[in-house]
């Protein structure tokens, strides 16, 4: 990975931080990548996570954290360039391809990613997973959405209430 310039440069070498998942696995990653997380950014700016300390993430297991970091490492260079004003079309297409592939996952992994993106406040990842769920919802009826997203079968009361609301909002999927 090419080291992105980190404003107040650290002698050219990319600064590394250590993140510790809920099941005590340690991940060493460039500070620039970890800083895509708003939550981590402050700690890192404060000098945390370096050396032997590591930043514990009690809400994120190692499988999820490794996935999250895969995203962050891929997106860190573009983010360091302040979004992507000088990114080439090729770069952007590559990121898009990566994103599509990245969320091609089963629902329990997606769930964990949504939670992690939310807790760690990784904006780009949040919108990526939200878009994935939106795609799962679009064009479906409420009942199909329930099935797709793992709702239990509705109770008779819930069913009645759904019917009433479908009358109200029936226009939405005429």
């Amino acid at each position: 990975m090419a080291a992105p310039e980190s404003g107040d440069g650290n002698n050219g070498a990319a600064r590394m931080v250590t993140l510790i998942s809920s099941d005590n696995t340690r991940f060493e990653v460039e500070a620039a990548a970890a800083s895509l997380s708003q939550t981590l950014q402050l700690t890192i700016l404060d000098g945390g996570g370096g050396g032997g300390d590591g930043i514990p993430l009690p809400n994120v297991d190692s499988a999820t954290l490794s996935k999250v970091l895969e995203y962050c490492i891929k997106h860190a260079p573009a983010a360091a360039n302040g979004g992507a004003p000088n990114a080439t079309a090729v770069d952007r297409a590559e990121l898009e391809r990566f994103d599509n592939e990245f969320v091609n996952i089963d629902q329990s992994v997606l769930y964990s990613l949504i939670m992690a993106a939310h807790n760690l406040e990784i904006e780009g990842l949040q919108s990526l997973v939200a878009k994935k769920v939106a795609d799962m919802i679009k064009g479906k009826s409420p009942m199909e959405i329930r099935r797709t997203l793992g709702f239990p079968d509705p109770t008779p009361e819930e069913q009645a209430e759904m019917n009433a609301h479908m009358l109200e909002y029936g226009w939405a999927y005429e």
């Binding site: 939200a130 679009k138 793992g150 209430e161 759904m162 226009w171 939405a172 999927y173």
Partner: protein, 415 residues
């Protein structure tokens, strides 16, 4: 964390809201039906709010029926190129072929939808989305029964993309008929719902209870106008330089009118540039694009530069440079309509001149001459009915254009 609940369904509210907020409005509508928790999230966090720009929120112009004229015209602010809002086809040429010389009228307007009466039937249309539909004939036998008013339109896109059309038994206007046949039995309102696509009888007065809301003042019998304005239902009356405005007090058990404004349009020096500009124009039948305003503004020479003083109904407090003032005695013939979002009344002067009168500030602004070129100037001619038009794009909510069911002759063939 329990392994088995890792379905999207089990997401906590905050995370879920972050997901739902990217949904397009139509999917949000569906999502509201999925379960109560989702509905609460969408409601509580107002996730539909960013889409409200599709709702009517500004006045584009006034649809006017002229006495004895074969068609209404839209009298409106010309569409500026900078406007984010699409151009309005004021001729409704998407629905009406002007070459047919068909007689038609606007019967009612509500939040961007119009009801039009054509030879071929009664239509509901949305000029902003260019959608329209023919209302099925209402089967109510009315040979011996009461006469009906209307039809009237009820449409609130903030609540639902569906509309309803009301036919209401008319109240006899003399005491004898009132005693004999009022209230009619059965007293019913026939309602067309776009949701069901059918007419139905809505309510009856089976308990013999109704409330008469007396019109505000028996002394003012002329030039009355009823309509919705910023703070509720207004009843306006007056002429020449006197204007009274009552507001319907709906808070108490009994609804009643209370006088809100008693205005005198005082002769004084007014900023010349507020009087001299024709900033609204009639959309002409033949030459749609070149509808040049040809009136003279209240005897003052018409300035050519329209752009610089364009009246913006959304922001009419922008600084208008007061170049110089001119003495003017405002006098109006009738009330054209009320601004639905602010305390402004549109008044007619000299048959076709239209001015906006700001109730709070007494400010007057001349908007232009609502006289179509194709309408003969005769002393019996004038403005018959008028409907302040607030465009609404909510048809887009149903992404494939089914907010109004397209009729068979429409280009859309899905239904």
């Amino acid at each position: 964390m329990e392994e088995e609940t890792k379905a999207i369904a089990a997401l906590p509210d905050d995370a879920l809201a972050g997901v739902l907020c990217v949904l397009p409005p139509r999917s949000l509508g569906v999502a509201q039906c999925v379960c109560k928790a989702w509905r609460d999230i969408i409601d509580d966090r107002a996730l539909l709010l960013p889409h409200l720009h599709l709702l009517p929120r500004s006045v584009r112009g006034v649809f006017i029926n002229y006495t004895g004229h074969y068609r209404p015209h839209l009298f409106s602010r010309p569409c500026s190129s900078s406007s984010t809002f699409p151009r309005i086809d004021g001729l409704l040429s998407f629905m009406i072929d002007d070459n047919e010389d068909e007689w038609w009228l606007v019967i009612d307007h509500c939040n961007g939808l119009l009801i039009c009466h054509l030879d071929s039937g009664v239509y509901v249309c949305n000029p902003a989305t260019q959608q329209w539909t023919l209302l099925p004939a209402c089967a109510t036998p009315s040979s011996s029964g009461p006469y009906y008013e209307g039809p009237y339109l009820a449409f609130d896109p903030a609540m639902s993309p569906h509309y309803e059309v009301f036919r209401i038994p008319s109240v006899p206007d003399d005491h004898q008929s009132m005693d004999q046949c009022w209230p009619p039995t059965p007293w019913k309102i026939t309602v067309f719902s776009s949701r069901t696509g059918e007419w139905e009888d809505r309510f009856s007065m089976s308990n013999d209870m109704y409330q008469v809301i007396r019109t505000p003042s028996a002394t003012v019998k002329y030039n009355r106008h009823l309509g919705r304005s910023k703070n509720g239902v207004f009843f306006g009356a007056g002429s020449k330089d006197k204007l009274w405005m009552w507001i319907l007090n709906e808070s108490g058990e009994h609804m009643e009118w209370s006088l809100k404004y008693e205005c005198e349009l005082t002769p004084r020096a007014y900023p010349r540039n507020l009087l001299a500009h024709n900033i609204w124009e009639v959309v002409e039948a033949e030459n749609y694009d070149v509808s040049a305003a040809n009136g003279e503004a209240i005897g003052i020479e018409t300035a050519q530069n329209k752009e610089s003083f364009e009246w913006n109904s959304d922001d009419d407090d922008t600084t208008v440079q007061i170049v110089d003032k001119v003495y003017f005695a405002p006098s109006f013939d009738e009330i054209l309509g009320f601004h639905p979002f602010k305390e402004v009344v549109f008044l007619v002067l000299d048959f076709f001149g239209v001015m906006a009168y700001h109730l709070n500030s007494s400010k007057i602004q001349f908007l232009g001459y609502a006289h179509p070129d194709c309408y003969p100037r005769m002393h019996t001619n004038g403005i018959d009915e008028s409907f302040v038009y607030t465009p609404c794009l909510i048809g887009e909510l149903a992404e494939d254009g089914t907010g109004l069911r397209s009729s068979v002759t429409s280009a859309d063939d899905d239904s």
